[in-house]
Amino acid sequence: MQLPQPAPGARVLAFGGYQPGNEVTNDDLAAAMDTSDEWIRSRVGIASRRIAGPDETVADMAVAAAGKAIAGSGVSVSDIDLVIVATCSTEAPIPNVSATVASRLGIIAPGAYDLNAACAGFCYGLANASDAVRAGSARHVLVIGSEKMSAWVDPADRSTRIIFADGAGAAVVGPVEDPAEKPGIGPVVWGSNGHLAEKIYIKDRTSFLFQEGQSVFRWATTELHPMALEACQRAGVRPEDLAAFVPHQANLRIIEALARKVGVPRERLADDIIHAGNTSSASIPLALARMTERGELHSGMPVLLLGFGAGMCYAAQVVTVP
């Protein structure tokens, strides 16, 4: 038996994001239920969000985001040999989203699997992609977070409807060719707290998403910053040297509290939630795509990612901006 030649490291080659065209503002929600722009902004920090059309699927959004990431990466679809879609909001569990997405993008016969670590899914996918490239089981990996959370949110439930939204984000991961070059995806710090699983759940296929807001807030603001700091420490990057902290865009108050505890100043905290809402596994790559498009992040800069959500699952890693 023999093994493939491992790559010295893996890096992100490009990000891509997609949001549906339908923008729903706080005033739109206030017209439909007992809430207000001021109330929503003060509770969760969201001004508007995008909601997918009735026929728009998790796969549709994944294809749109991935197409942009591939175009930006300079990699040909024929070079991609693994596709991972992180999602927790598919219309149905069979078939998986990733094989369909790969086919629609013209990627021929890649390894393809869906991954459910809820809002932490993209960071899990990125860790899997990095490991696959480093071990030699794939050369270029497409990692996508795509969610249609609106399909699982009760339109009459104010507490969840104001938060959750739809969208997709993607990254193309490839090898670091030169052994002298530093890896672009740092070691992952991941884990789960299954004893808290009842804090966020969908009971069955006919039910809506339930979230115990106070418990999730307490968990996220007290348990996760050590993981984020450990990811920095393992990557050899000091928090003060981070160009940005890009946590899952759960709730502005949660991520502002996390930034304070990690020691990242407010101006370096990604706040994409303000106009994207909480798009679960899509929120981190969506924020990264937007920040790189706007020129807020430049090639070579270290950014800290922290995904966290239902399960309760979490994952953190430092990534170098492509």
Binding site: R43, E212, Q214, R218, T221, R253, A257
Partner: protein, 82 residues
């Protein structure tokens, strides 16, 4: 030595000032968190976490909903302080 109610009130007022920006002299035992101090459910969690650090008394989420006034928190901390 057990904390007195006045000591708990003073400590709680400092926490509320820091988290919700309510001046300490406005925090009196009869005040209702939601109606009088405009403190929402997530700030209540932050106050509970800070109170645990300060007084060593854990206030679980399922107890939080019953603590409606400053006096309710004082009573809870006083009763549960080791």
């Amino acid at each position: 030595m057990a904390l007195t109610e006045q000591e708990i009130l003073t400590g709680l007022a400092e926490i509320i000032d820091e988290i919700a920006g309510v001046p300490a002299d406005e925090v009196s035992p009869d005040k209702n968190f939601v109606d009088d101090l405009d403190i929402d459910s997530l700030s209540m969690v932050e106050i509970a976490v800070a109170a645990q650090d300060k007084f060593g008394v854990e206030i679980p989420d399922d107890q939080l909903k019953d603590l409606k006034t400053v006096q309710d928190v004082i009573n809870y901390v006083h009763k549960n302080a080791s």
